[in-house]
């Protein structure tokens, strides 16, 4: 009965419900495989000229959930929003002749520029570190691989730690360990915060379902973060037609300067 209700609710929430393979019994006859369905409140976030960040709600439903595990709260959900990937360079300052200057640096390979995580509880309580590391879920478990590795291990962990701390400090990395809430026994809602400085591009919503501390199923959905209208036109122009863009800047400057001298002329 409950499962059926879940199905109904899930289809109500979701526009793109894919058929689950959960119907087919595997191994033991009693064990059906759980399914996970997710949908987002929007598939596109627009960065407007007064953009101050946004909230994204991810809805999800468990299908074929085991009643017993549900009752004792053995299902855990982690939802993440991963930004576009790029290299990241961490630099360290040291005092040289009384002046603080960058002396050491480390570049990490293709890490998400932004990363927002919501979970049912503390993620390290959901699963053990090695398995979270292997799937790269959680700010402390993202793979940070230095390019052209040099230096020692102490150095590496120091730079990794600094990277995470700085990203958390500027809001590009966030976590909310109570951000996923079950609204019914098998329906959940995750709230993710997108910071004002979020990069544009294709982001990915990942949802991970854990059962008794083990990842059993995951889903993902793309989320486009786009600059709109004028902002987009300006960015496009600056990157695709840089000479014209520069010319426009100079032209505005000349007109502003000249205009002012015309308007404020005293004769």
């Amino acid at each position: 009965m409950l499962t059926r209700l879940c199905y109904l609710l899930a289809t109500a929430f979701l526009t793109t419900a894919t058929p689950t393979a959960g119907q087919v019994p595997l191994g033991e006859a009693s064990a059906v495989e759980e399914g996970l369905e997710i949908g987002t409140s929007t598939s596109e976030i627009a960065i407007t000229s007064d953009f101050r960040g946004a909230d994204l709600t991810v809805f999800g439903a468990l299908t074929n959930a085991d009643e017993l595990f549900l009752a004792i709260g053995q299902y855990d959900v982690i939802v993440t929003l991963e930004g576009p990937r790029d290299y990241a360079t961490v630099r360290k300052k040291e005092r040289v002749l009384g002046i603080w200057m960058n002396t050491a640096s480390m570049t990490f390979e293709q890490v998400p520029v932004s990363y927002s995580l919501a979970s049912t509880r503390e993620i390290d309580a959901i699963d053990e570190a090695p398995s979270l590391n292997s799937i790269g879920v959680g700010i402390n478990h993202l793979a940070l691989t230095p390019t052209g590795f040099l230096g020692n291990a102490v150095n590496l962990s120091e730079f990794r730690e600094a990277y995470r701390r700085l990203k958390l400090a500027n809001g590009l990395y966030q976590r909310d360990t109570s951000g996923v809430r079950f609204v019914s026994s098998s329906l959940f809602r995750a709230s993710l915060r997108l910071p004002a400085n979020i990069p544009d591009g294709i982001h990915t919503v990942h949802a991970y379902l854990f059962k008794g501390g083990e990842l059993i199923v995951q889903q993902e959905l793309p989320l486009r973060v786009v600059k709109t209208g004028l902002e987009q036109a300006i960015t496009d122009a600056a990157h695709n037609r840089p000479i014209l863009y520069g010319l426009a800047c100079v032209l505005i400057a000349v007109i502003t300067g000249w205009g002012a001298s015309l308007i404020f002329r005293k004769d």
Binding site: A88, R91, V254, A260, S261
Partner: protein
């Protein structure tokens, strides 16, 4: 009210930017300077990335120099030929400067280098100006006549080859020191986002012995084209000119400048120079403090990377 800067990729308070532009415009109108040396550090203090502060500062100088240059052109106090020679040096300098800029950015020393250059130039120029204006103030207090200039005197600059005749300035001078000066200013424009008038004007008067009446107009001519060129090249190579930020600064700047000019006319020259010297010193010292005080965080992170 916040406004999103598409190139800097951050939201800023529009009133703070307008205020900055107006304040710098006011001061630049009052002192007759471009204001680049004030706007760039101010933007950096307001957490605009130095890369963008420098490139956008250069475009702001274009706007603030245009009206001045027009006035000088009308009055005939602009030596086109001299200005063109300066400009040739300036464009070459700006080209070299931009490659230095891009290289410093790649190795992660750009911010430090910009700060160091600012500290060095602002404190040196500030001390020299303060010294000179205090002496002038003392002289006028004692009612002594100013020290007579000796325009006929020959110094080493006049023994250099490739002499050219500059009719409007009524001088016969080697092109070499003019090109070198233009080049140096071009480098400064591209790395610091300044027009360089505060260095070029004294250098033209004291080093090249160019008549004072054409100096300001001619330097403005060089500044407009060098800063315009820098804006274009920065836009093309570093994608670092923020048109939204630049427009807000320019509009506020030119309006502020008009009021600055009116206040400036009520003050005496020596007093103005003393005040400007103090301002220049203050910015320099503020930047110097930033270099020696231990940073809050020893680490910094930047997106993008150079797998080298």
């Amino acid at each position: 009210m916040t406004v999103y800067l598409p190139i800097a990729e951050l939201s800023v308070n529009i009133f703070i930017i307008l205020g900055m532009g107006a304040a710098v415009g006011f001061l630049s109108g009052m002192f007759g300077v471009g204001g680049g040396f004030l706007i760039t550090p101010l933007l950096i203090f307001y957490n605009i990335p130095p890369v963008i502060a420098v490139a956008t500062g250069a475009s702001q100088v274009v706007a603030s120099s245009v009206s001045g240059a027009i006035t000088h052109f009308r009055r005939g106090t602009l030596d086109m030929k001299l200005g063109t020679v300066l400009l040739v040096g300036g464009l070459a300098g700006a080209t070299v400067g931009i490659s230095i800029f891009s290289w410093l950015r790649r190795v992660g020393q750009l911010d430090l280098f910009i700060s160091l250059l600012y500290v060095l130039l602002l404190t040196t120029v500030g001390i020299l100006m303060l010294n000179e204006s205090v002496r002038a103030l003392r002289r006028s207090a004692r009612n002594e006549p100013p020290v007579a200039k000796r325009p006929g005197q020959h110094i080493w600059v006049h023994r250099l080859p490739f002499k050219m005749r500059f009719k409007r300035s009524k001088i016969y001078l080697s092109a070499v020191p003019i090109l070198v000066l233009g080049f140096a200013i071009g480098v400064l424009t591209s790395i610091m986002g300044v027009g360089g008038g505060f260095i070029m004007v004294p250098a033209m008067i004291y080093l090249l012995r160019i008549p004072t009446n054409v100096v300001v107009g001619t330097s403005l001519f060089q500044i407009i084209f060098t800063t315009a060129y820098t804006t274009m090249v920065q836009a093309a190579t570093n994608y670092s000119v923020d048109i939204v930020l630049a427009t807000i600064l320019m509009v506020a700047g030119v309006i502020g400048a008009q009021y600055g000019v009116r206040v400036g006319q009520k003050l005496r020259g020596e007093q103005l120079r003393a005040l400007l010297a103090l301002l220049v010193l203050a910015v320099g010292i503020r930047l110097a403090i930033g270099l020696v005080v231990a940073p809050e965080d020893l680490y910094s992170v930047s997106v993008g990377g150079f797998a080298d």
